[in-house]
């Protein structure tokens, strides 16, 4: 398993320096991403999902600063710390090793250039100059995302619908055969049926090309469908990490449980839903101890005093909570893995 490790994120913390103080947007985040895996980062708005993933391609806004940690990236046996790459190495790293599709990127293509020019641009920037080769590869990839390849390549971006643009962007994303593809809310602005098409295409592409995905979403259903691993984030911290089945059927963190209890399920009869009480915390002046304790139903005095370690509970399943047993008890009989 070890030699399949692609990205190892260790103890990464990021702050935004703003007038009011430091926004602690990411705190001591660690995880490993293996080849062909799809890791979903879930959590509510402002929990630092975008921030942490932007750091992997060094595209954080200038107000942001990585204060601790490393991101070790491995390709063909060689390992580098992404944060230490210089500007030129970083430029080469982007897209060729790690492609990131941003949140709400309905506007991802330069409106005055034809799609094919944007494919050529990308290839050329990474030293691939044979236009014919690039063109053929683009045709192949666009076919994979179920588009009419010639037509799309000859189009300007505004001539494509939102869903077509998104699929074209996915094709462009894998043009250089990256090992990691980061997708930040790839389907949020899209319609249900278009979203379905994107999910299917993405799964198929991943199966064929074998890249790893970091998938950011606050839609749990999407995570359940797409991911092999799921990480729950709360207030800039990773609070639970496990396989998709572990997170959905054997969740250990009260926040994960809270999320699961607040999503309606279509295939069932009437839902019994509860919401998580309270509001997301202020990241400049976060609560003491476990940051979730003011909203947690299981909190005790200890939770406000001391921060729980993000530690292994069993196998690869990690959680940062003092009382996971309470969660286990609370989820009994709620839902089970149907097998």
């Amino acid at each position: 398993m070890e030699d399949n490790l692609v990205l190892s994120v260790q103890d990464v913390s990021i702050i935004y320096q703003v007038a009011r103080g430091n926004v602690k947007a990411t705190n001591n985040v660690s995880f490993d991403l293996y080849k062909g895996e799809a890791l979903a980062l879930i959590g509510e708005s402002g929990s630092g999902k975008t921030t942490v993933s932007l750091s992997f391609i060094k595209m954080l806004p200038s107000a942001a600063k990585v204060t601790t940690g490393k991101a070790l990236y491995t390709r063909e046996g060689k390992t580098v710390n992404i944060f230490e790459l210089n500007e030129e190495r970083m430029r080469a790293f982007r897209w060729q090793d790690c492609a990131m599709v941003f949140q709400g990127a309905q506007n991802a293509f330069n409106p005055v250039l034809k799609i094919k020019e944007q494919f050529f641009d990308t290839a050329k920037a990474h030293g691939w100059r044979k236009r014919k080769e690039v063109y053929d590869r683009a045709l192949e990839l666009l076919k994979l995302v179920r588009l009419d390849p010639e037509r799309v390549l000859e189009s300007y971006p505004h001539e494509l619908s939102g869903g077509m643009k998104q699929r074209t962007l996915l094709a462009l994303g894998v043009l250089l055969d990256p090992q990691v593809v980061i997708l930040d809310e790839p389907t949020t602005a899209l319609d249900i049926l278009t979203q379905r098409a994107i999910i299917d295409v993405l799964k198929e592409m991943q199966g064929r090309l074998g890249f790893s995905i970091i998938f950011i979403s606050h839609d749990l259903a999407l995570a359940a469908e797409m991911a092999s691993q799921v990480a729950t984030m709360y207030a800039g911290e990773m609070v639970e990490l496990g396989t998709v089945d572990e997170i959905f059927y054997e969740s250990l963190h009260p926040y994960t449980l809270g999320l699961l209890q607040s999503v309606p399920r279509l295939e069932r009869g009437q839902d019994e839903l509860t919401s998580i009480k309270g509001n997301p915390p202020d990241l400049i002046d976060p609560p003491s101890g476990c940051k979730f304790h003011p909203r947690c139903d299981f909190a005790e005095a200890k939770c406000a005093e001391k921060k729980p370690e993000f530690a292994t509970y069993e196998k690869e399943h990690k959680v940062a909570c003092w009382f996971p047993e309470k969660v286990i008890e609370a989820r009994q009989g709620l839902w089970e893995k149907a097998s």
Partner: protein, 355 residues
């Protein structure tokens, strides 16, 4: 992906509507109408100014040659091809009739010279001088505007923005005056008197080095003045446009795609940020023809602007009308050009224009 059967939702339309729907044709018709409306307006406006050409000349004769009013009037009336007793409406239809035949008429005060010839004598100088200035100003503005946007909120940006704001806030003739007073009169870098006119009158026009040098020398100060008066606007416009383009997703994605900084600046930021500016440039071309009356007067530069000023003081109706007509046409057509240019540069407009 299959094509869907297209079904038009619009009702059957008449022939006239069909013409109206044709974008190009509609623009041309609108332009012609605009030109007509403006020249009609100008025609009456110039006649509403106090005095007419004969009275102005009569006053001049009385003062300079000590003639009686009677004598002066007779002489003036015999020299000018102008009948002040004809009604405005008669004059108007006469003028329009001439225009339709492509005739701008003769100057009232300089009998025998055609207005069109006069215009053609002065126009090239203005086009040369203001045109060059506009181009220079535009290029400098794009450059500094983009630099300011790139280094937004740094000292470079602050410096450029402050200078641009000052340049933009002060009108060009004040810059002209300041150049003359500070550089010419106080620092004595040049002799203002030597730089009157469009070139050194002792030289023969032609493709000689001395002549071209003289032309440039004489145009230099007006060009500098225009550039100082307008570059601030271009800088600020480009800065604003670039700033908003830099925030676009496609620029961020281009960075994430690992494109080189150079390619991003030119094809992704520059090209999109300058789109709105090209339209503004095209619109401004129209104003080039008119030149700037005050600046040309200030430097005694014999262009169309100073010629217009002269014809106004003389109440030379036909000349004024001729020049203003040229300016109107230039403005209207440069607007059309702007539209056209925009649809060339921006594929999004190109498509909707076709359908």
């Amino acid at each position: 992906m299959q094509a869907l059967p297209a079904k038009s939702q619009t009702q059957p339309f008449s022939f006239l509507e069909k013409i109206w729907r044709n974008y190009t044709l509609r623009t041309v018709i609108q332009s012609i109408f605009t030109v007509w409306a403006v020249i009609t307006f100008i025609f009456f406006l110039v006649r509403l100014m106090p005095g007419n050409p004969i009275e102005i000349y009569v006053n001049y004769l009385i003062n300079s040659e000590n003639l009686t009013y009677e004598q002066a009037y007779n002489r003036a009336a015999s020299q000018f091809q102008f009948d002040p007793s004809a009604s405005w409406l008669e004059q108007y239809f006469g003028y329009i009739g001439q225009l339709l035949r492509g005739n701008l008429g003769e100057s009232i005060t300089s009998t025998g010279t055609k207005v069109i010839d006069q215009i053609m004598r002065f126009l090239p100088w203005t086009v040369f001088c203001v045109g060059l200035a506009l181009l220079l100003s535009f290029v400098l503005g794009m450059l500094f505007g983009m630099i300011a946007a790139y280094y937004r909120n740094s000292w470079i940006d602050n410096l450029i923005s402050i200078i641009a704001a000052i340049l933009g806030a002060v009108p060009d003739y004040i810059w002209g005056l300041m150049i003359i007073i500070i550089c010419g009169v106080q620092l004595k870098w040049f002799n203002v008197g030597d730089l009157r006119g469009t070139f050194d009158p002792s030289l023969q026009p032609g493709f000689t080095f001395a002549f071209i040098f003289s032309v440039i020398q004489h145009a230099l100060l007006p060009i500098l003045t225009y550039v100082m008066g307008t570059v601030g606007f271009w800088i600020l416009a480009m800065r604003g446009s670039t700033t908003s383009t830099l925030g676009e997703d496609y620029v961020n994605i281009a960075r994430a795609r690992g494109l080189s900084q150079g390619r991003i600046i030119t094809a992704y930021v520059g090209r999109n940020a300058s789109l709105p500016l090209f339209t503004l440039l095209a619109i401004n071309i129209g104003f080039v023809i008119g030149g700037s009356i005050i600046v040309e007067e200030l430097f005694v530069y014999k262009g169309l602007g100073s010629f217009l000023f002269w014809s106004i003081t003389q109440r030379d109706y036909t000349t004024m009308q001729g020049i203003l007509l040229m300016i109107t046409i230039a403005v209207v057509f440069s607007n059309m050009l702007a539209d056209l240019l925009y649809s060339r540069l921006d594929p999004r407009v190109r498509i909707s224009g076709d359908s």
